[in-house]
Each structure stands twice: as C-alpha cells, then as structure tokens.
C-alpha cells in the first residue's frame, strides 16, 4: 500500500500538525530555557541577570525535591493503576447488554464533565472534610472517629480525587475499543469451551492492548503536570507530604513569583517526563502499531 505517491501524500498530510506543534513547543521551550538561566522575579524586575545553573541547583537542593519527585511518580503510578484496572472492569461490565445502557454510560463518564478545580473542591469539602464531610458522617454512624484524609493520607487523597476525575476517560476509550471486538470470535471461543477468564486473557485483553497503551501514555502526560487539585486540597502538605514537582513549580511561579526558578523546574519536569516516556515506550510502545 505504501507506494511512492501515497508516502508523499502522507507527508503532506502530517505536515500541518507537525509544523503547528513544533512552533507551539519550541517557542515556549526556548523561552523557558532562557529564563531558567536568568534571575527573573516578577515583583523585583530591577534585579536581573544571568545566574548560570543557580536556579537548577536551587531546585535540586530544595529539601522537598526528591520527595516531590517520588510523589510525582506515585501520583502517576497510583492513578494509572486505579484508572486502568477499574476502567477495564467497568468497560467489560457496561459493555454487557444491560437495561438503560445509554443513561448508564452517561453516569459513568459524568465525573469527566466536572471541572477539575470544582471536582477537587467538592470532594474535599462535601466528602473528605473531617467535620462536615459525608465520609465523616459514615464513620461516625459506625461510632468511629472520622478519618483525617487530607492530614493523615494526603497523597492517597489526591490520588483518589484525580483517579475519580480520570476514570471516565479510561473507561470511555477502553469501552470503544471493546466494542470493535468481533463477537463471532468470542462466540467461537465460547463454543470451544474457553472459560470466561481465558477468553478475557487470550482474546479480549490482547484486543484492548492498543487502547490500554493509549490510555496509559495520554494519562501519564496529563498526570505528570497536575498541580491544581493539589493546590485546592492539600496545598502540597502537610509539610511537603503531597508536594509534587509541578506543585513545586507552581509555588515558585505563583507564590514566590520567581520565574527563573519556575523555568528551571519546568525543564527538569520535561526531562523527567521524557525519561518516563522512554521507559513507557520501551515497555508498551510495541502495542501501538500492531
């Protein structure tokens, strides 16, 4: 199918996307690189100059840096594990012929419709709040002390909130993939006496692999940049217990208004993201083109 002319056509068709994205990437990246070697504080514009690697060193030597790196990976890993596992199970479940399928699917993807800051605020205050939350009411009705989610389990709380937001995305993509699976194949396997588990393992799962890979890769990129939910709920705390790398950058950019440091943090984040992406592609990338 890949004739000379179709190859050329393909190039022409990919070009606009590539060109646009290239500009979109390279301009801010170049500016960020520039600022990362500069002293640039929004509020004190009179003090500027080249500072070499000072901003990078500040980031790497910050007491919470390694904790933040760990938390960033924990957030990505935790949310991926939850959303992909539950996403597969839920997709399998709602793919079955059930009553009210249409409404059901809307309900399942509804969390995705709620703006992230609102989702975080609602979950924090109406559910996890130790005095006024629904969970506290449940604990107390069993005579137990309310769980202090944000104080004692800050990272888990953030992971739970983000997972709830992203579960619909995973479910929807996995469901769409599941629907393209031919039922004849499954029926044939069923007649051959393959158990449900084996049908899942040898037919359904391999079929879904590309969708799973897509979910993992897209979500990873989004999750690596999350800071809004952390700001709304735990403010990275208590202490630095739920501080992630983007949240560290957020603090430098928004609270300290130190654009130089924020830029250095951004470059570090890009490096981290590339490392993660490299291993992901090594691990699951082959499923993309099968």
């Amino acid at each position: 199918m890949s004739t000379q002319s179709s190859r050329l056509a393909a190039r022409v068709m990919v070009a606009p996307s590539v060109l646009l994205l290239f500009i979109w990437m390279v301009v801010p990246l170049a500016m960020t690189l520039y600022y990362s070697f500069r002293l640039y504080r929004l509020i004190s514009p009179d003090r500027t100059g080249w500072v070499g690697f000072t901003n990078y060193l500040w980031f790497i030597n910050a007491p919470e840096f390694w904790l933040a790196m760990g938390n960033t990976l924990a957030l990505v890993g935790g949310v991926l594990a939850i959303t992909v596992t539950l996403g597969i199970l839920i997709a399998l479940l709602i793919d079955q012929p059930v009553k009210g399928q249409g409404v059901l699917r809307i309900l399942v993807i509804a969390p995705f419709f709620v703006m992230p800051p609102v989702a975080a605020s609602i979950l924090e205050n109406l559910f996890m709040h130790p005095q006024n939350g629904l969970f506290a009411a449940v604990s107390m009705s069993f005579g137990a002390q309310p769980i202090l989610f944000l104080q004692d389990y800050p990272m888990w709380s953030v992971i739970a909130i983000v997972s709830w937001e992203w579960l619909p995305f995973a479910t929807l993509i996995l469901l769409t993939s599941l629907q393209s699976l031919s039922s004849e194949q499954l029926e044939a396997a069923e007649m051959d006496g393959a158990s449900a588990l084996n049908r899942f393992r040898f037919i359904i799962l391999p079929h879904m692999m590309r969708a799973i890979t897509v979910v993992i890769l897209i979500q990873t990129i989004f999750l690596l940049g999350i800071f809004g939910e952390i700001f709304t709920t735990t403010q990275g705390g208590p202490g630095s217990a739920s501080t992630t790398l983007p949240y560290m950058i957020f603090k430098q950019a928004i609270a300290a208004k130190d654009i130089g440091r924020a830029a250095a943090g951004g470059i570090i984040a890009v490096i981290l993201a590339n490392i993660v992406a490299y291993f992901l592609m090594r691990g699951i990338g082959r499923h993309l083109d099968t």
Binding site: M31, Q96, F113, V114, P117, L175, I218, A253
Partner: protein, 276 residues
C-alpha cells in the same frame, strides 16, 4: 459484542453495572443535590437529604450575579472551535500515520505527545508574554488556537487508534474503484470512523470545556469561558458550597446534554466489521 444471554444473567449484570455507575456518579449527584440546598443546609452534619431546606435561590443568585450567557457562549465557541479546528488538522495526519506508517511513525506520535510535557505553570509567563506581543490576550481566536494546540496531540492519538481498527482492505477497495485520496478520506474513511471521530470530538470538547488554567490566565472579560465563571464562585467569604454547586451544575449541564445526544454515537461503537 452483543450476545444472547440468559435473563437472570442480564438482571445480575444490570444490577452490578448500575451499582458501579451510581457509585461513580454519586459525587456529581451530591453536588447537584447540594445546589438546591440553602448554604447552612449544604454543610449540615449529619448530611441532610430528606430534611434539607430545598431552594432555587442559589441558581437565582448565580444567574443574577454574573453574565452566565456570555461565559456560556465563550465556552461553546472555544471548545467547539478548538476541537473542530483540531479535527481538521488531525484527521489527515492520523490517516497518514494509520495507513501509511513509516519507520518513524511511532516516534512522531510520541513526539507530539511530548509537546504536552511542560507543566503549564512553568510556561505561564513565557506564553503570556507571547500572547501579549501578538495581541491575543482575551481574544477568542487566541484561546481557540491555544486550546487547539494543547489538545491536538490527544486528537491525533485518538483518531490514530480508531483508524487503526479500520481494515486497510476497505480503503484499498475504494482505491481500486478509482477514488482519489480526498474522496477516500471524505466518503470512505470518515463515515466508517464516525463513531471514533464522535468520541474524539466529545472527549476533546470536554477537555477544552474544562480547561481552567490557560482560559483564566489568558482572558479577562471578552473571551472568558465558564472556568472563569466558576472561579468567581469558589472560596468567597462565608458559606459557598451550595452556590459553588449551583454554578458548577450550570457549567456542566450543557456538556452533560451534549454527552446525552452524542451517547448514541458512543454506544453504537465502531459499526464496521463483524459487529452484529
């Protein structure tokens, strides 16, 4: 994957699916319920369901306090505009990558995704400066472009995955019949990929609709969408959960309705091949 199943099994799966769906949906439901309570009732302990003071006052106040129609219209323009523009750019690209894959296709895909690796806050000032220089601050066209570029990698990726499901033979058959490239995409590929395109459209409209960092930083009044509307209802002084819930419900209602209409596309799934 619709297969004949016993009524008992259907009842069981229905029960299970609905339980799961309600658990996932519950926070949204609770938010909607909260939006109809008075503020003290919204944070009452134990939480009130049947004993709550129901009211429409929150909606009245939210409606009165801000120009909802303008924010709403901006959200529609920004999310639909950016998604449609994104689809126009991405469909050819995804077609090329799915049906004329080269050695570098996978790298190219990954590179596209990597344009999203920079955390938004880190480029806040650089990007703001660029927008300022180009006179794009608080303009719809600026925001449409920004949102389009932000979501373009996702659009390409999703389309690529859906296109990959389409058997290449069908396209080849079309080509045998003498269809040109343009015709092939418009008359053969697009109808077959419609459910995939619909689901891409829906997801990206939602992503753009929910984007709440750049849409707030880069707008003031003229182009401000519902995210800015929401930001005027969170964390003021005093009780605000009922009002925040009302504002949020107003912000998600349109997209919930859109989801409702497009669910047929989503549910039908990919209609080619051996399904049914």
């Amino acid at each position: 994957m619709a297969r004949a199943t016993s009524p008992r099994r259907k009842a069981l799966t229905t029960l299970a699916a609905w339980s799961v769906a309600l658990v996932i949906f519950f926070p949204v439901l609770w938010m909607i319920l909260t939006s109809f309570k008075t503020e003290p009732s919204a944070v009452a302990m134990p939480p009130q369901l049947f004993t709550a003071d129901w009211t429409l006052e929150n909606y009245a106040e939210v409606w009165q306090r801000s120009d909802y129609p303008r924010f709403f219209w901006n959200s529609v323009v920004l999310s639909l505009g950016s998604t449609l523009l994104g689809l126009a750019v991405a469909i050819p690209a995804a077609w090329a990558m799915a049906f004329v894959p080269g050695k570098k296709t996978k790298d190219l895909l990954m590179w596209m995704l990597s344009t999203k690796m920079m955390p938004a806050v880190a480029v806040m000032i650089p990007l703001y400066l660029v927008f300022l220089k180009l006179g794009l601050i608080d303009t719809r066209i600026g925001l449409v472009l920004a949102l389009m570029l932000m979501n373009l990698p996702i659009i390409v990726w999703m389309l690529y995955t859906y296109f990959k499901e389409i058997p290449a033979e069908i396209l080849e058959a079309a080509r045998m019949d003498g269809a040109g490239l343009f015709k092939e995409i418009v008359y053969v590929l697009t109808p077959m990929a419609l459910p995939g395109i619909a689901s891409t459209l829906l997801l990206n409209v939602i992503l753009a609709w929910n984007e709440a960092f750049w849409t707030i930083i880069l707008t003031t009044t003229k182009a401000a969408p519902l995210s800015a509307f929401i930001a005027s209802f969170s964390a003021p002084q005093g009780l605000f959960y009922a009002k925040l819930s009302a504002a949020s419900t107003m912000a998600i209602a349109p997209i919930l309705i859109l989801g409702w209409f497009s669910q047929k596309q989503l549910v039908r799934g990919l209609t080619f091949g051996a399904v049914k």
